[in-house]
């Protein structure tokens, strides 16, 4: 695999950039693999990469029913942070954040990780108490976090409406300076290219339609390209996890909902950080291209339509306009939806199952993009050793039976 560098850019200029090698190969599937990963989103591709890189397991295929990164990975608002309330979650997301920091070098692919800071705004006394509690918990876990008052927020974001007379006034915020955004497609493509160069087969347009088992153990998957044998099958299919579980006759504590985002026309730089408000379901940052990237809430009812209800974005946009009156006349270019898998405690499931050789990594809901590197890293370990990575262990499926839930819902700035 040709390395990307300043030099290669210079060299290819002489041939008008027409001879760049393809970033990955698209082979026909082999009859059998050691590990089949179902789902070619960021998490599946990262899992494949770390299986090959850290565990030397290279007879691996990633099966993707559409195109790589075409699921939630390519549909999200790319917010990265690790300021979660509970120790288990803080450890998981912070592990991920530390991997983000060296990711472009590790993959030799610019994922445009930009640590521009993330604000979680509070609008009332209870919000501020929750923020203080969370920031204190974060600091005990070694996560950089601060409580800011209205004035400090206004200094960071001069265009924010700090009037005390609006419906949801800004009382303050939590601030994680090491948070930020990354380029979502590049994360999928970077992991895909790096995994492929280590020998992983990436097979697109390949839909898994069944999970074949014998005597309580996985033996392979049925697909539209025929049967593919594998001793281990790892499902990383986000919103389709319930459908995949039904293929294996197991149940998951998940429900799938459409979540929407929208982008505006590009405008001059006005916002150099990420502003999130859980109370009003509005999240906004400005991309390097200049468009405002806005995240909305989930639909109120479950569904698999990769769109969403109009009143949801209407609600978000009215909140954005109140917080940022200067945006009120910006035109929106596009809106879209992704299907997210919501778990009861708003935490993921990274787990073995009662079927030998069958693993699930799901339940990331509205906030798994930030975890892509860490999720892949700990899931690869879990698959390779058939034993949960210590960071992944609390996120087992059995926690719903034991009652050891990791309740990030409401307690933390949980969405995204």
């Amino acid at each position: 695999m040709e390395r990307y560098s300043g030099f290669s850019l210079f060299k290819h200029a002489f041939s008008h950039h027409e001879n760049w090698q393809k970033a990955w190969h698209s082979p026909a599937p082999k009859p059998s693999y050691d590990v089949v990963i179902v789902g070619g989103g960021g998490h599946g591709l990262a899992t494949a990469y770390y299986l090959a890189k850290q565990h030397g397991i290279t007879r691996v295929a990633v099966l993707e029913k559409g195109y790589l990164g075409g699921g939630n990975t390519g549909r999200n608002t790319t917010i990265v942070r690790s300021n979660y309330l509970w120790d288990e979650a803080a450890r998981l997301y912070d592990h991920s954040l530390s991997l983000w920091q060296g990711l472009s070098q590790e993959l030799n692919y610019n994922v445009m990780f930009s640590q521009r800071g993330v604000l979680n705004v509070g609008h009332n006394l209870q919000d501020m108490r929750d923020i203080e509690r969370r920031v204190n918990a974060n600091r005990l876990n070694g996560i950089d976090a601060e409580v800011l008052d209205t004035k400090a927020v206004k200094e960071l974001v001069p265009i924010i409406n700090d009037s005390p007379n609006i419906r949801y006034p800004v009382h303050g915020a939590s601030w994680q300076a090491s948070g930020g955004v990354a380029r979502h497609d590049a994360v999928a493509w970077g992991y895909a290219r790096a995994a492929n160069s280590l020998g992983v087969d990436l097979i697109q347009q390949c839909e898994v339609t069944g999970i074949r088992r014998q005597a309580g153990a996985v033996v392979g998957v049925e697909t539209n390209l025929g049967f593919i044998a594998a001793a281990k099958v790892a499902c990383v299919v986000a919103g389709s996890s319930g459908v995949m579980a039904a293929h294996a006759d197991i149940r998951l504590p998940l429900e799938s909902y459409p979540l929407q985002a929208l982008v505006s026309e590009p405008i001059k730089p006005v916002l150099d950080t990420v502003v999130m408000s859980n109370a009003v379901h509005a999240y906004v940052s400005q991309s390097d291209k200049g468009d405002l990237v806005i995240g909305a809430g989930i639909d109120t009812y479950n569904g698999y339509g990769q769109r969403g209800s109009f009143q949801i974005i209407e609600h978000t946009v009215s909140a954005i306009c109140e917080l940022f009156p200067v945006f009120s006349r910006v035109r929106m270019n596009r809106s879209w939806g992704g299907v997210v898998d919501i778990s009861p405690d708003a935490c993921p499931i990274i787990s073995k199952t009662m079927i030998k050789g069958l693993y699930f990594n799901c339940g990331w809901g509205t906030g798994g993009f930030k975890a892509t590197p860490g999720s892949g890293h700990v899931f690869a370990h879990t698959i390779a050793k058939d034993q949960a990575h210590p960071i992944a262990a609390p996120f087992n499926l059995d926690r719903f039976n034991t009652g050891h839930l990791i309740d990030e819902h409401g307690a933390a700035a949980v969405a995204h």
């Binding site: 579980a245 149940r251 504590p253």
Partner: protein, 99 residues
């Protein structure tokens, strides 16, 4: 936006008049203390989550303020029927897994 027929009001109304209350026909265990942890977890947390036909509860919040059930396709969003609580659906199918 969905258009939902309230079986009590007997009118087709807009989705924003209603609120959603999750999967229908999940009976509260009569003797909770007899359940195993796994059975209790299944009652509390595990859902069918099918891609296809789904029976679900709705509440006519800005109307008659009563609960009813609907049979809806979670992929096409078509609503096949709505029916009062306590009744069984006319349309059933187990596309998305078993109960």
């Amino acid at each position: 936006m969905l258009q939902i027929y309230c079986p009590y009001c007997q009118e087709l109304r807009e989705e924003t008049e209603f609120s959603y209350s999750g999967e229908a026909h999940i009976a509260r265990p009569l003797e909770p203390q007899q359940l195993t942890d796994a059975q209790w977890a299944d009652y509390l947390f595990f859902r069918t989550n099918p891609r296809g036909i789904h029976h679900e509860m709705w509440y006519h919040a800005s109307g008659c303020r009563r609960y009813f059930n609907a049979t809806r396709n979670t992929q096409t969003y078509e609503i096949y029927e709505t029916y009062p609580l306590g009744q069984q659906p006319a349309l059933t199918c187990d596309i998305g897994g078993k109960r």
